[in-house]
Protein backbone atom coordinates (compact mmCIF):
# COMPACT_ATOMS: atom_id res chain seq x y z
CA UNK A 1 0.00 0.00 0.00
CA UNK A 2 2.68 2.47 0.95
CA UNK A 3 4.36 1.88 -2.40
CA UNK A 4 1.12 2.66 -4.20
CA UNK A 5 -0.25 5.72 -2.42
CA UNK A 6 2.57 7.78 -3.83
CA UNK A 7 1.97 7.01 -7.50
CA UNK A 8 0.45 9.66 -9.74
CA UNK A 9 -2.19 7.22 -10.95
CA UNK A 10 -3.45 6.65 -7.41
CA UNK A 11 -3.34 10.29 -6.45
CA UNK A 12 -5.20 11.36 -9.58
CA UNK A 13 -7.88 8.67 -9.42
CA UNK A 14 -8.65 9.15 -5.75
CA UNK A 15 -8.49 12.91 -6.06
CA UNK A 16 -5.35 13.31 -3.96
CA UNK A 17 -6.61 11.87 -0.70
CA UNK A 18 -5.10 13.48 2.35
CA UNK A 19 -5.66 14.00 6.04
CA UNK A 20 -8.67 12.17 7.38
CA UNK A 21 -9.43 10.24 4.22
CA UNK A 22 -5.91 8.96 3.71
CA UNK A 23 -5.83 8.22 7.43
CA UNK A 24 -9.02 6.18 7.11
CA UNK A 25 -7.65 4.31 4.10
CA UNK A 26 -4.44 3.61 5.97
CA UNK A 27 -6.01 2.51 9.25
CA UNK A 28 -8.80 0.45 7.63
CA UNK A 29 -6.47 -2.54 7.64
CA UNK A 30 -5.70 -2.10 11.34
CA UNK A 31 -9.40 -1.75 12.14
CA UNK A 32 -10.07 -4.98 10.28
CA UNK A 33 -7.29 -6.81 12.08
CA UNK A 34 -8.71 -5.89 15.47
CA UNK A 35 -12.01 -7.48 14.44
CA UNK A 36 -10.12 -10.42 12.93
CA UNK A 37 -8.03 -11.14 16.00
CA UNK A 38 -11.10 -10.80 18.23
CA UNK A 39 -13.06 -13.46 16.34
CA UNK A 40 -10.03 -15.65 15.62
CA UNK A 41 -9.98 -17.51 18.95
CA UNK A 42 -13.48 -19.02 18.92
CA UNK A 43 -13.27 -19.80 15.20
CA UNK A 44 -9.95 -21.55 15.62
CA UNK A 45 -11.30 -23.66 18.49
CA UNK A 46 -14.41 -24.51 16.53
CA UNK A 47 -13.12 -25.40 13.05
CA UNK A 48 -9.45 -25.99 13.79
CA UNK A 49 -6.24 -24.05 13.35
CA UNK A 50 -5.56 -25.02 9.78
CA UNK A 51 -9.12 -24.48 8.64
CA UNK A 52 -9.40 -21.13 10.38
CA UNK A 53 -6.54 -19.98 8.15
CA UNK A 54 -8.52 -21.26 5.17
CA UNK A 55 -11.58 -19.42 6.47
CA UNK A 56 -9.52 -16.22 6.67
CA UNK A 57 -8.63 -16.61 2.99
CA UNK A 58 -12.27 -16.07 2.03
CA UNK A 59 -12.17 -12.54 3.43
CA UNK A 60 -8.94 -11.92 1.60
CA UNK A 61 -10.40 -12.98 -1.75
CA UNK A 62 -13.49 -10.79 -1.32
CA UNK A 63 -11.52 -7.86 0.05
CA UNK A 64 -8.98 -8.01 -2.75
CA UNK A 65 -11.71 -8.27 -5.38
CA UNK A 66 -13.36 -5.15 -3.94
CA UNK A 67 -10.07 -3.29 -4.01
CA UNK A 68 -9.26 -4.27 -7.57
CA UNK A 69 -12.69 -3.15 -8.74
CA UNK A 70 -12.86 -0.03 -6.61
CA UNK A 71 -14.44 3.13 -7.95
CA UNK A 72 -13.97 5.41 -4.95
CA UNK A 73 -12.17 5.50 -1.65
CA UNK A 74 -15.16 4.19 0.28
CA UNK A 75 -14.90 0.97 -1.64
CA UNK A 76 -11.16 0.90 -1.08
CA UNK A 77 -11.67 1.26 2.68
CA UNK A 78 -14.25 -1.55 2.67
CA UNK A 79 -11.84 -3.82 0.81
CA UNK A 80 -9.04 -3.06 3.23
CA UNK A 81 -11.22 -3.74 6.28
CA UNK A 82 -12.00 -7.20 4.86
CA UNK A 83 -8.31 -7.82 4.16
CA UNK A 84 -7.61 -6.66 7.71
CA UNK A 85 -9.89 -9.37 9.09
CA UNK A 86 -7.72 -11.92 7.31
CA UNK A 87 -4.59 -10.34 8.74
CA UNK A 88 -6.11 -10.44 12.23
CA UNK A 89 -7.03 -14.11 12.02
CA UNK A 90 -3.84 -15.32 10.38
CA UNK A 91 -1.45 -13.22 12.47
CA UNK A 92 -2.84 -14.70 15.68
CA UNK A 93 -3.61 -18.25 14.51
CA UNK A 94 -0.58 -19.04 12.35
CA UNK A 95 1.74 -18.89 15.40
CA UNK A 96 -0.75 -21.12 17.24
CA UNK A 97 -0.76 -23.63 14.39
CA UNK A 98 3.01 -23.60 14.04
CA UNK A 99 3.60 -23.96 17.78
CA UNK A 100 1.20 -26.91 17.94
CA UNK A 101 2.58 -28.91 15.05
CA UNK A 102 6.26 -28.30 15.88
CA UNK A 103 8.53 -30.68 17.71
CA UNK A 104 9.33 -29.18 21.10
CA UNK A 105 13.00 -28.72 20.34
CA UNK A 106 12.37 -27.02 16.99
CA UNK A 107 9.39 -24.88 17.96
CA UNK A 108 11.19 -21.57 18.13
CA UNK A 109 12.68 -21.78 14.68
CA UNK A 110 9.38 -22.86 13.16
CA UNK A 111 7.40 -19.98 14.62
CA UNK A 112 10.06 -17.52 13.49
CA UNK A 113 9.55 -18.55 9.88
CA UNK A 114 6.29 -16.65 9.91
CA UNK A 115 8.07 -13.42 10.74
CA UNK A 116 10.64 -14.15 8.06
CA UNK A 117 7.88 -14.74 5.52
CA UNK A 118 6.19 -11.45 6.46
CA UNK A 119 9.47 -9.70 5.89
CA UNK A 120 9.94 -11.19 2.44
CA UNK A 121 6.34 -10.50 1.55
CA UNK A 122 6.82 -6.81 2.25
CA UNK A 123 10.01 -6.80 0.24
CA UNK A 124 8.33 -8.43 -2.76
CA UNK A 125 5.35 -6.09 -2.51
CA UNK A 126 7.59 -3.04 -2.76
CA UNK A 127 9.11 -4.30 -5.97
CA UNK A 128 5.66 -5.08 -7.36
CA UNK A 129 4.48 -1.61 -6.42
CA UNK A 130 7.51 -0.11 -8.06
CA UNK A 131 7.03 -2.07 -11.27
CA UNK A 132 3.33 -1.28 -11.41
CA UNK A 133 3.99 2.43 -11.05
CA UNK A 134 5.08 2.34 -14.72
CA UNK A 135 1.69 1.08 -15.91
CA UNK A 136 -0.41 4.03 -17.09
CA UNK A 137 -3.93 4.65 -15.79
CA UNK A 138 -5.88 2.90 -13.10
CA UNK A 139 -4.46 -0.46 -14.24
CA UNK A 140 -1.41 0.57 -12.24
CA UNK A 141 -2.86 0.16 -8.76
CA UNK A 142 -5.45 -2.40 -9.83
CA UNK A 143 -2.68 -4.71 -11.03
CA UNK A 144 -0.68 -4.15 -7.86
CA UNK A 145 -3.64 -4.94 -5.65
CA UNK A 146 -4.61 -7.82 -7.90
CA UNK A 147 -1.31 -9.54 -7.17
CA UNK A 148 -2.65 -10.00 -3.63
CA UNK A 149 -4.66 -12.88 -5.09
CA UNK A 150 -1.51 -14.81 -5.92
CA UNK A 151 -0.20 -15.75 -2.45
CA UNK A 152 -3.76 -16.40 -1.27
CA UNK A 153 -4.33 -18.71 -4.23
CA UNK A 154 -1.25 -20.76 -3.36
CA UNK A 155 -2.28 -20.83 0.28
CA UNK A 156 -5.72 -22.19 -0.58
CA UNK A 157 -4.23 -24.81 -2.89
CA UNK A 158 -1.55 -25.82 -0.38
CA UNK A 159 -3.45 -25.78 2.91
CA UNK A 160 -5.39 -29.02 2.40
CA UNK A 161 -2.07 -30.84 2.06
CA UNK A 162 -0.87 -29.61 5.43
CA UNK A 163 -1.62 -31.64 8.56
CA UNK A 164 -4.21 -30.44 11.05
CA UNK A 165 -2.82 -29.59 14.44
CA UNK A 166 -2.59 -32.87 16.41
CA UNK A 167 -3.42 -31.02 19.62
CA UNK A 168 -6.59 -29.55 18.19
CA UNK A 169 -7.58 -32.99 16.87
CA UNK A 170 -7.10 -34.37 20.37
CA UNK A 171 -9.18 -31.57 21.80
CA UNK A 172 -12.16 -32.38 19.59
CA UNK A 173 -11.80 -36.11 20.16
CA UNK A 174 -10.45 -37.19 16.78
CA UNK A 175 -7.82 -39.33 18.45
CA UNK A 176 -6.83 -41.62 15.60
CA UNK A 177 -6.12 -38.72 13.27
CA UNK A 178 -4.25 -36.93 16.02
CA UNK A 179 -1.99 -39.92 16.67
CA UNK A 180 -1.36 -40.39 12.98
CA UNK A 181 -0.43 -36.71 12.56
CA UNK A 182 1.88 -36.86 15.56
CA UNK A 183 3.50 -39.94 14.11
CA UNK A 184 3.96 -38.25 10.74
CA UNK A 185 5.60 -35.28 12.39
CA UNK A 186 7.72 -37.13 14.94
CA UNK A 187 8.52 -40.55 13.57
CA UNK A 188 7.89 -40.78 9.84
CA UNK A 189 4.42 -42.23 10.26
CA UNK A 190 5.21 -44.92 12.81
CA UNK A 191 2.43 -44.70 15.41
CA UNK A 192 4.24 -47.21 17.63
CA UNK A 193 7.32 -45.05 18.06
CA UNK A 194 7.98 -44.40 21.78
CA UNK A 195 8.21 -40.66 21.14
CA UNK A 196 4.75 -40.63 19.61
CA UNK A 197 3.19 -42.67 22.39
CA UNK A 198 4.86 -40.63 25.12
CA UNK A 199 3.82 -37.31 23.60
CA UNK A 200 0.29 -38.57 23.03
CA UNK A 201 -0.02 -39.64 26.66
CA UNK A 202 1.31 -36.28 27.70
CA UNK A 203 -1.25 -34.43 25.57
CA UNK A 204 -4.22 -36.46 26.76
CA UNK A 205 -3.21 -36.33 30.43
CA UNK A 206 -2.88 -32.57 30.43
CA UNK A 207 -6.05 -32.20 28.39
CA UNK A 208 -8.06 -34.22 30.89
CA UNK A 209 -6.64 -32.19 33.77
CA UNK A 210 -7.61 -29.04 31.95
CA UNK A 211 -11.16 -30.22 31.34
CA UNK A 212 -11.52 -30.76 35.08
CA UNK A 213 -10.19 -27.28 35.79
CA UNK A 214 -13.43 -25.67 34.67
CA UNK A 215 -15.01 -23.97 31.74
CA UNK A 216 -14.98 -20.60 30.08
CA UNK A 217 -12.91 -17.76 31.43
CA UNK A 218 -11.98 -19.63 34.61
CA UNK A 219 -9.34 -21.45 32.57
CA UNK A 220 -7.52 -18.16 32.30
CA UNK A 221 -7.29 -17.49 36.05
CA UNK A 222 -7.65 -20.72 38.08
CA UNK A 223 -4.73 -22.63 39.56
CA UNK A 224 -2.12 -19.98 38.95
CA UNK A 225 -3.10 -19.64 35.32
CA UNK A 226 -3.55 -15.91 35.77
CA UNK A 227 0.25 -15.86 35.70
CA UNK A 228 0.19 -17.42 32.28
CA UNK A 229 -2.48 -15.07 30.99
CA UNK A 230 -0.44 -12.17 32.26
CA UNK A 231 2.78 -13.51 30.74
CA UNK A 232 1.21 -14.05 27.33
CA UNK A 233 -0.35 -10.62 27.17
CA UNK A 234 2.44 -8.59 28.75
CA UNK A 235 5.12 -10.15 26.59
CA UNK A 236 3.39 -8.59 23.60
CA UNK A 237 2.83 -5.31 25.40
CA UNK A 238 6.51 -5.10 26.35
CA UNK A 239 7.62 -5.92 22.88
CA UNK A 240 5.63 -3.03 21.47
CA UNK A 241 6.49 -0.63 24.28
CA UNK A 242 10.21 -1.17 24.10
CA UNK A 243 10.47 -1.33 20.36
CA UNK A 244 8.21 1.48 19.31
CA UNK A 245 10.73 4.02 20.15
CA UNK A 246 13.69 2.54 18.30
CA UNK A 247 12.65 3.50 14.82
CA UNK A 248 11.39 6.81 16.05
CA UNK A 249 14.53 7.71 17.86
CA UNK A 250 16.65 6.91 14.86
CA UNK A 251 14.25 9.04 12.97
CA UNK A 252 14.81 12.04 15.07
CA UNK A 253 18.48 11.50 15.53
CA UNK A 254 19.58 11.53 11.98
CA UNK A 255 17.81 14.72 11.38
CA UNK A 256 19.63 16.12 14.35
CA UNK A 257 22.91 15.02 12.87
CA UNK A 258 22.68 15.96 9.24
CA UNK A 259 21.18 19.15 8.01
CA UNK A 260 21.18 19.04 4.28
CA UNK A 261 18.77 20.04 1.60
CA UNK A 262 17.34 17.73 -0.96
CA UNK A 263 16.52 18.74 -4.47
CA UNK A 264 14.62 15.69 -5.56
CA UNK A 265 12.31 13.54 -3.61
CA UNK A 266 12.51 9.83 -4.08
CA UNK A 267 9.19 9.46 -2.39
CA UNK A 268 8.99 5.76 -2.91
CA UNK A 269 12.25 5.32 -1.08
CA UNK A 270 10.97 7.54 1.67
CA UNK A 271 7.81 5.57 2.06
CA UNK A 272 9.74 2.39 1.95
CA UNK A 273 11.94 3.43 4.83
CA UNK A 274 8.91 4.61 6.69
CA UNK A 275 7.09 1.37 6.30
CA UNK A 276 10.13 -0.69 6.97
CA UNK A 277 11.01 1.01 10.17
CA UNK A 278 7.61 1.74 11.56
CA UNK A 279 6.42 -1.82 11.31
CA UNK A 280 7.96 -3.78 14.08
CA UNK A 281 9.32 -7.10 13.03
CA UNK A 282 12.38 -9.11 13.83
CA UNK A 283 14.51 -8.67 10.82
CA UNK A 284 15.27 -5.02 11.02
CA UNK A 285 18.92 -5.92 11.20
CA UNK A 286 18.66 -7.69 7.87
CA UNK A 287 16.65 -4.74 6.68
CA UNK A 288 19.48 -2.37 7.38
CA UNK A 289 21.56 -4.36 4.95
CA UNK A 290 18.78 -4.65 2.39
CA UNK A 291 17.75 -1.01 2.30
CA UNK A 292 20.51 0.09 -0.11
CA UNK A 293 19.53 -2.64 -2.56
CA UNK A 294 15.95 -1.53 -2.46
CA UNK A 295 16.49 2.17 -2.57
CA UNK A 296 18.74 2.12 -5.63
CA UNK A 297 16.07 1.60 -8.30
CA UNK A 298 14.00 4.39 -6.84
CA UNK A 299 16.96 6.71 -6.81
CA UNK A 300 17.66 5.93 -10.42
CA UNK A 301 14.12 6.76 -11.26
CA UNK A 302 14.06 9.90 -9.22
CA UNK A 303 17.15 11.15 -10.98
CA UNK A 304 16.27 10.05 -14.48
CA UNK A 305 12.67 11.19 -14.52
CA UNK A 306 11.84 13.79 -11.97
CA UNK A 307 8.46 13.03 -10.52
CA UNK A 308 6.13 14.72 -8.12
CA UNK A 309 8.05 16.52 -5.51
CA UNK A 310 6.80 16.58 -1.98
CA UNK A 311 5.07 19.81 -1.25
CA UNK A 312 7.69 20.85 1.23
CA UNK A 313 10.42 19.82 -1.20
CA UNK A 314 12.26 17.73 1.35
CA UNK A 315 13.12 14.16 1.71
CA UNK A 316 12.07 13.25 5.20
CA UNK A 317 12.92 9.69 5.85
CA UNK A 318 11.53 8.78 9.23
CA UNK A 319 14.48 6.65 10.13
CA UNK A 320 17.20 8.95 9.17
CA UNK A 321 15.62 12.09 7.84
CA UNK A 322 18.64 12.47 5.62
CA UNK A 323 17.82 15.52 3.63
CA UNK A 324 20.12 14.88 0.75
CA UNK A 325 20.20 11.34 -0.40
CA UNK A 326 23.47 10.47 -2.13
CA UNK A 327 24.86 7.16 -3.19
CA UNK A 328 27.19 7.12 -0.27
CA UNK A 329 24.43 8.24 2.06
CA UNK A 330 22.31 5.41 0.83
CA UNK A 331 25.08 3.06 1.79
CA UNK A 332 25.16 4.70 5.20
CA UNK A 333 21.46 4.18 5.46
Amino acid sequence: MSAIVITEQYITFFNNPSGLIQGAIGSALAAGSVVGSAIAGPISDKIGRRDSIMFACIFWLIGTAIQVACQNYGQLIAGRVLNGITVGITSSQVPVYLAEIAKAEKRGSLVIIQQLAIEFGILIMYFIGYGCSYIPGTASFRTAWGTQFVPCFFLIIGLPFLPRSPRWLAKVGRDAEAIQTLANIQAGGNTQDPRVIAEWEEITTVMRAELEAGKGWRKFVRNGMWKRTMAGMTVQAWQVSLSRFCPRNCASLYQCCFEQKLTYTPRLATRWCQHYCVSSFPFEATGTVLIPIQVLPHLHRANGRPRRQRRDGYFRCPICRLHHLHWRDVALH
Binding site: Q114, D175, P194, G224, M233, P282, Y314
Partner: protein, 211 residues
Protein backbone atom coordinates in the same frame (compact mmCIF):
# COMPACT_ATOMS: atom_id res chain seq x y z
CA UNK B 1 18.14 -15.95 14.10
CA UNK B 2 16.46 -19.31 13.73
CA UNK B 3 19.86 -20.92 14.00
CA UNK B 4 20.09 -20.21 17.71
CA UNK B 5 16.56 -19.51 18.90
CA UNK B 6 16.09 -23.05 20.16
CA UNK B 7 19.59 -23.31 21.61
CA UNK B 8 19.56 -20.17 23.73
CA UNK B 9 16.70 -20.07 26.19
CA UNK B 10 13.78 -17.67 25.82
CA UNK B 11 14.44 -16.16 29.24
CA UNK B 12 18.08 -15.52 28.42
CA UNK B 13 17.20 -13.76 25.17
CA UNK B 14 14.41 -11.70 26.71
CA UNK B 15 16.37 -10.56 29.76
CA UNK B 16 19.66 -9.86 27.97
CA UNK B 17 17.80 -8.18 25.13
CA UNK B 18 15.92 -5.85 27.46
CA UNK B 19 19.11 -5.02 29.38
CA UNK B 20 21.01 -4.36 26.14
CA UNK B 21 18.28 -2.10 24.83
CA UNK B 22 18.18 -0.29 28.17
CA UNK B 23 21.91 0.44 27.99
CA UNK B 24 21.54 1.76 24.43
CA UNK B 25 18.70 4.04 25.50
CA UNK B 26 20.72 5.38 28.42
CA UNK B 27 23.76 6.08 26.22
CA UNK B 28 21.67 7.85 23.59
CA UNK B 29 19.75 9.82 26.20
CA UNK B 30 22.88 10.72 28.13
CA UNK B 31 24.86 11.88 25.10
CA UNK B 32 21.93 13.89 23.82
CA UNK B 33 21.40 15.39 27.25
CA UNK B 34 25.00 16.51 27.43
CA UNK B 35 25.52 17.71 23.86
CA UNK B 36 22.20 18.87 22.47
CA UNK B 37 21.38 22.28 21.09
CA UNK B 38 17.83 23.59 21.43
CA UNK B 39 16.02 24.31 18.19
CA UNK B 40 12.77 25.88 19.40
CA UNK B 41 10.97 26.09 16.06
CA UNK B 42 11.84 22.53 15.05
CA UNK B 43 14.77 20.99 13.20
CA UNK B 44 15.11 21.30 9.43
CA UNK B 45 13.91 23.65 6.78
CA UNK B 46 10.96 23.80 6.67
CA UNK B 47 11.02 22.99 10.39
CA UNK B 48 9.84 19.67 11.65
CA UNK B 49 8.00 20.64 14.79
CA UNK B 50 8.24 17.12 16.17
CA UNK B 51 11.95 17.45 16.84
CA UNK B 52 13.12 20.41 18.85
CA UNK B 53 16.67 19.46 19.80
CA UNK B 54 19.71 18.68 17.70
CA UNK B 55 23.11 17.06 18.21
CA UNK B 56 25.15 18.82 15.63
CA UNK B 57 28.37 17.05 14.77
CA UNK B 58 31.42 15.11 15.76
CA UNK B 59 31.81 12.26 18.19
CA UNK B 60 28.56 12.82 20.13
CA UNK B 61 26.51 12.68 16.94
CA UNK B 62 28.23 9.48 15.78
CA UNK B 63 27.79 7.91 19.21
CA UNK B 64 24.09 8.66 19.08
CA UNK B 65 23.74 7.11 15.61
CA UNK B 66 25.81 4.07 16.51
CA UNK B 67 23.81 3.29 19.62
CA UNK B 68 20.51 3.85 17.86
CA UNK B 69 21.53 1.22 15.35
CA UNK B 70 22.77 -1.09 18.07
CA UNK B 71 19.41 -0.72 19.73
CA UNK B 72 17.65 -1.96 16.61
CA UNK B 73 20.11 -4.81 16.15
CA UNK B 74 19.69 -5.98 19.75
CA UNK B 75 15.94 -5.71 19.44
CA UNK B 76 15.83 -7.61 16.16
CA UNK B 77 17.91 -10.44 17.59
CA UNK B 78 16.05 -10.83 20.86
CA UNK B 79 12.71 -9.33 21.76
CA UNK B 80 11.19 -9.06 18.31
CA UNK B 81 11.02 -12.78 17.48
CA UNK B 82 10.99 -14.23 21.00
CA UNK B 83 7.93 -12.27 22.07
CA UNK B 84 5.86 -13.84 19.29
CA UNK B 85 7.09 -17.34 20.04
CA UNK B 86 6.54 -16.92 23.75
CA UNK B 87 3.04 -15.55 23.31
CA UNK B 88 2.11 -18.54 21.15
CA UNK B 89 3.55 -21.27 23.35
CA UNK B 90 2.55 -20.36 26.91
CA UNK B 91 -1.13 -21.18 26.47
CA UNK B 92 -2.75 -24.54 27.11
CA UNK B 93 -4.72 -26.36 24.47
CA UNK B 94 -8.06 -24.97 25.57
CA UNK B 95 -6.87 -21.40 25.92
CA UNK B 96 -4.34 -21.07 23.15
CA UNK B 97 -6.50 -19.77 20.32
CA UNK B 98 -8.33 -17.23 22.48
CA UNK B 99 -5.18 -16.45 24.43
CA UNK B 100 -3.24 -15.65 21.29
CA UNK B 101 -6.10 -13.44 20.14
CA UNK B 102 -5.89 -11.57 23.44
CA UNK B 103 -2.13 -11.22 23.07
CA UNK B 104 -2.52 -9.84 19.56
CA UNK B 105 -5.12 -7.36 20.84
CA UNK B 106 -2.81 -6.26 23.62
CA UNK B 107 -0.11 -5.72 21.02
CA UNK B 108 -2.44 -3.56 18.97
CA UNK B 109 -3.67 -1.49 21.91
CA UNK B 110 -0.17 -0.67 23.11
CA UNK B 111 0.82 0.10 19.58
CA UNK B 112 -1.92 2.65 19.37
CA UNK B 113 -1.19 4.17 22.80
CA UNK B 114 2.52 4.56 22.06
CA UNK B 115 1.80 6.06 18.69
CA UNK B 116 -0.30 8.65 20.47
CA UNK B 117 2.02 9.64 23.28
CA UNK B 118 5.54 9.38 21.85
CA UNK B 119 5.52 12.43 19.52
CA UNK B 120 4.24 14.94 22.09
CA UNK B 121 6.52 13.42 24.73
CA UNK B 122 9.56 13.93 22.54
CA UNK B 123 8.62 17.56 21.95
CA UNK B 124 8.10 18.27 25.63
CA UNK B 125 10.84 16.37 27.44
CA UNK B 126 13.18 15.65 24.47
CA UNK B 127 16.17 13.50 25.47
CA UNK B 128 14.66 12.58 28.82
CA UNK B 129 12.25 10.38 26.92
CA UNK B 130 15.17 8.06 26.14
CA UNK B 131 15.87 7.75 29.86
CA UNK B 132 12.23 6.83 30.45
CA UNK B 133 12.43 4.13 27.80
CA UNK B 134 15.74 2.97 29.28
CA UNK B 135 14.09 2.58 32.67
CA UNK B 136 11.20 0.75 31.02
CA UNK B 137 13.70 -1.68 29.49
CA UNK B 138 15.23 -2.35 32.90
CA UNK B 139 11.77 -2.85 34.38
CA UNK B 140 10.99 -5.26 31.55
CA UNK B 141 14.16 -7.25 32.28
CA UNK B 142 13.14 -7.55 35.93
CA UNK B 143 9.59 -8.47 34.91
CA UNK B 144 10.86 -11.20 32.57
CA UNK B 145 13.11 -12.53 35.33
CA UNK B 146 10.37 -12.73 37.93
CA UNK B 147 7.36 -13.84 35.91
CA UNK B 148 8.46 -15.75 32.80
CA UNK B 149 9.48 -19.40 33.14
CA UNK B 150 11.78 -20.92 30.56
CA UNK B 151 9.83 -22.64 27.80
CA UNK B 152 12.61 -23.54 25.42
CA UNK B 153 12.89 -27.23 24.51
CA UNK B 154 9.79 -28.27 26.48
CA UNK B 155 6.59 -29.68 25.08
CA UNK B 156 3.55 -27.40 25.14
CA UNK B 157 2.05 -29.65 27.84
CA UNK B 158 5.02 -29.20 30.16
CA UNK B 159 4.80 -25.45 29.84
CA UNK B 160 1.32 -25.64 31.34
CA UNK B 161 2.78 -27.11 34.52
CA UNK B 162 5.36 -24.33 34.81
CA UNK B 163 2.61 -21.78 35.37
CA UNK B 164 0.56 -23.86 37.79
CA UNK B 165 0.38 -23.19 41.52
CA UNK B 166 2.70 -26.11 42.18
CA UNK B 167 5.10 -25.15 39.42
CA UNK B 168 8.71 -24.11 40.01
CA UNK B 169 9.68 -20.46 40.44
CA UNK B 170 10.42 -18.98 37.00
CA UNK B 171 14.03 -18.18 37.89
CA UNK B 172 14.67 -21.82 38.76
CA UNK B 173 13.51 -23.11 35.39
CA UNK B 174 16.05 -24.26 32.83
CA UNK B 175 15.79 -24.88 29.13
CA UNK B 176 15.38 -28.43 27.89
CA UNK B 177 14.92 -30.85 30.81
CA UNK B 178 11.99 -32.19 28.93
CA UNK B 179 9.91 -34.62 30.95
CA UNK B 180 9.21 -36.20 27.59
CA UNK B 181 12.70 -37.71 27.37
CA UNK B 182 12.10 -39.77 30.50
CA UNK B 183 8.63 -40.69 29.33
CA UNK B 184 9.91 -41.83 25.96
CA UNK B 185 12.33 -44.13 27.77
CA UNK B 186 9.55 -45.37 30.02
CA UNK B 187 7.37 -46.13 27.02
CA UNK B 188 10.25 -47.82 25.23
CA UNK B 189 10.93 -49.97 28.29
CA UNK B 190 7.27 -50.82 28.70
CA UNK B 191 7.09 -51.67 25.03
CA UNK B 192 10.00 -54.09 25.29
CA UNK B 193 8.36 -55.81 28.25
CA UNK B 194 4.73 -55.65 27.29
CA UNK B 195 4.34 -54.66 23.68
CA UNK B 196 0.80 -55.99 23.07
CA UNK B 197 -0.80 -53.85 25.76
CA UNK B 198 0.47 -50.64 24.20
CA UNK B 199 -0.80 -51.81 20.89
CA UNK B 200 -4.18 -52.59 22.35
CA UNK B 201 -4.60 -49.13 23.81
CA UNK B 202 -3.71 -47.74 20.45
CA UNK B 203 -6.21 -49.79 18.49
CA UNK B 204 -9.01 -49.30 21.01
CA UNK B 205 -8.52 -45.58 20.57
CA UNK B 206 -8.94 -45.95 16.85
CA UNK B 207 -12.05 -48.05 17.25
CA UNK B 208 -13.58 -45.48 19.51
CA UNK B 209 -13.25 -42.88 16.80
CA UNK B 210 -14.49 -45.20 14.11
CA UNK B 211 -17.65 -45.79 16.13
Amino acid sequence: MWLFIDKTGRRTLLILGALGMGVCHFVVGGVMGAHHVDVPGGVGNPPNANIVISVNKGAPAYTVILFSYLLIVVYALTLAPVCWIYAAEVWSLGTRATGMSMAAMSNWIFNFALGMFTPPAFVNITWKLFIIFGVLCMAAAAWFFVFYPETCGKTLEEIEVLFGNDGPKPWNTRKGDSRLVAEIEAVAARKDGDAPSVHETESSDQEKVAV
